[in-house]
Amino acid sequence: MSGLRLTEGSRGPGASVAVEGAPLTRTQVPYVTGSSVLGMKCADGVVIACDTMASYGSLARFKRLTRMHVASPNCILGVGGDYSDFQQLQTMVDAEMTAQYVANDGLSLSPKAIHAFLARHMYHRRCKVDPLWNSVLVAGFHKGEGTLSLVDLYGTAYSSDVLATGFALHLGLPLLRNAHRPDITVAEAKVVMNDVLKVLFYRDARTNDVVQLATVTAAGVEVGDMVKLDTEWNHKAFVQGARAGDESSW
């Protein structure tokens, strides 16, 4: 025995077991996790939305935690995945912003630059096979235009008019795509977000019904309060089971 190795374990298929003589492997599973984040670019800004729960496995461990972080006056992050890795990201971004502040040269990091900064870090970590287990939505407003980008634990980085992470890649993204128009306003998008969050809460067992929306517009970042979703549990399918009234032979 080579003594206690904290990296040993077999939690799920991603976990690797450190074997004597074999290369040391890093933590390969997230522990306390946040679920999906949604984002939509609008004509007059960007909206991002997520619920406020952090799960420990399937346990609803922490409720009413914010999964958003204001990076700069015109940029906000919405983060899913490992919560402690998210906190590490916050520390990194804040340190970068402090460096910007003390330089006092009249320059500031644009949302695009913040996204690139995160993407470099995430890719660097994944190349060390020690990733920060997150997907991050970066929403910003710069030079009269909204920006919405994503970076994940592999360092994959891209931008789009509508973005979703986690379970919402499956359940939320199609709804967002249907709802999106180039001329959609922030106010309209907020309503859409609420609807999609509701769907996610019904179907994704790692979410709660307290959600948070944030907007970035020409006026800057505005982080909304945590709001309880108005849910309806008397749908026939909920009461009688998923196949209620289903006449198909499937």
Binding site: T91, A95, T98, A99, V102, N104
Partner: protein, 263 residues
């Protein structure tokens, strides 16, 4: 006999004892440190006050060329959200000190998740400077830093970090060429009732008064504050405020000299 004469000669001009900061002189001095302090005394004056609603620092930056773009080669630096410093002495040594101060701020933040208290920062900076007085293969810093900071426990603070590695907390401090005259002027201020806005004017007046027009014609006035007005954030004092204070100080000086002429 001959050697005795030689060593006597050497002693007279310090040359045995000032080659390294690792050597004490027989009367207990370290000449290398004193020379470093000399480098500060040759530099533009820096003054600072800790007053009622903040801490303000000002520095006279002697401009080396008329073609220099204003605002380059700064002597006032921000080191964290709540602290800043101004440098008197060698400008590049000062930048080293500012960089170290920033590192100390961020490392404290990463460990304790809170902003570094002023006295901790001052102590760490002084330690940093002190280390450069201990070894033969390095030279002491040719600069002194006036450090202004705010924290919730100790309020507004002003420290002076010297090349020797000492740092004291002051209500008012001055270093550089005009420090004697500046100190005399500072002593007349009532730090308890003085506001930062007033302090900006007073400091501008001190710098203008101690400035040696005959020797250094051109100079820029740089100021840095941490005060209620700046929401306890470190800030370079807005240029228009500095300009206004300087103009008023220069006008007052002209009036004085007119009066002198009348007499």
């Amino acid at each position: 006999m001959c050697r005795g004469v030689l060593s006597c000669f050497c002693l007279l001009d310090h040359s045995q004892y000032d080659l390294s900061s690792t050597t004490f002189s027989p009367d207990g001095r370290v000449f290398q440190i004193e020379y470093a302090q000399k480098a500060v005394e040759n530099s533009g004056t820096a003054v600072g006050v800790s007053c009622k609603d903040g801490v303000v620092m000002a520095v006279e930056k002697v401009v080396v060329s008329k073609m220099l773009v204003p605002g380059t080669m700064r002597r006032a630096h921000l080191v964290d959200h709540h602290s800043g410093l101004v440098i008197s002495g060698l400008i590049s040594d000062g930048r080293q000190l500012a960089t170290r101060a920033r590192d100390e701020c961020s490392s404290y933040k990463s460990v304790y998740d809170s902003a570094i208290p002023g006295h901790v920062l001052a102590e760490r900076l002084a330690n940093f400077a002190h280390v450069y007085t201990l070894y033969a293969y390095v030279r002491p810093f040719g600069c002194a830093a006036l450090l202004g900071a705010h924290d919730d426990t100790n309020g507004y603070q002003l420290y002076l970090v010297e090349p020797s590695g000492v740092s004291y907390r002051y209500f008012g401090a001055a270093v550089g060429k005009g420090k004697q005259a500046a100190k005399t002027a500072l002593e007349k201020l009532d730090f308890k009732s003085l506001t930062c806005r007033e302090a900006v004017k007073e400091l501008a007046k001190i710098i203008v008064d101690v400035h040696d027009e005959a020797k250094d014609k051109l100079y820029e006035l740089e100021m840095c504050w941490v005060c209620e007005e700046s929401k306890n954030m470190s800030q370079l004092v807005p240029q228009d405020v500095v300009d206004e204070a300087r103009k008023a100080a220069e006008a007052a000086q002209d009036d004085d000299s007119d009066m002198d002429d009348d007499e």
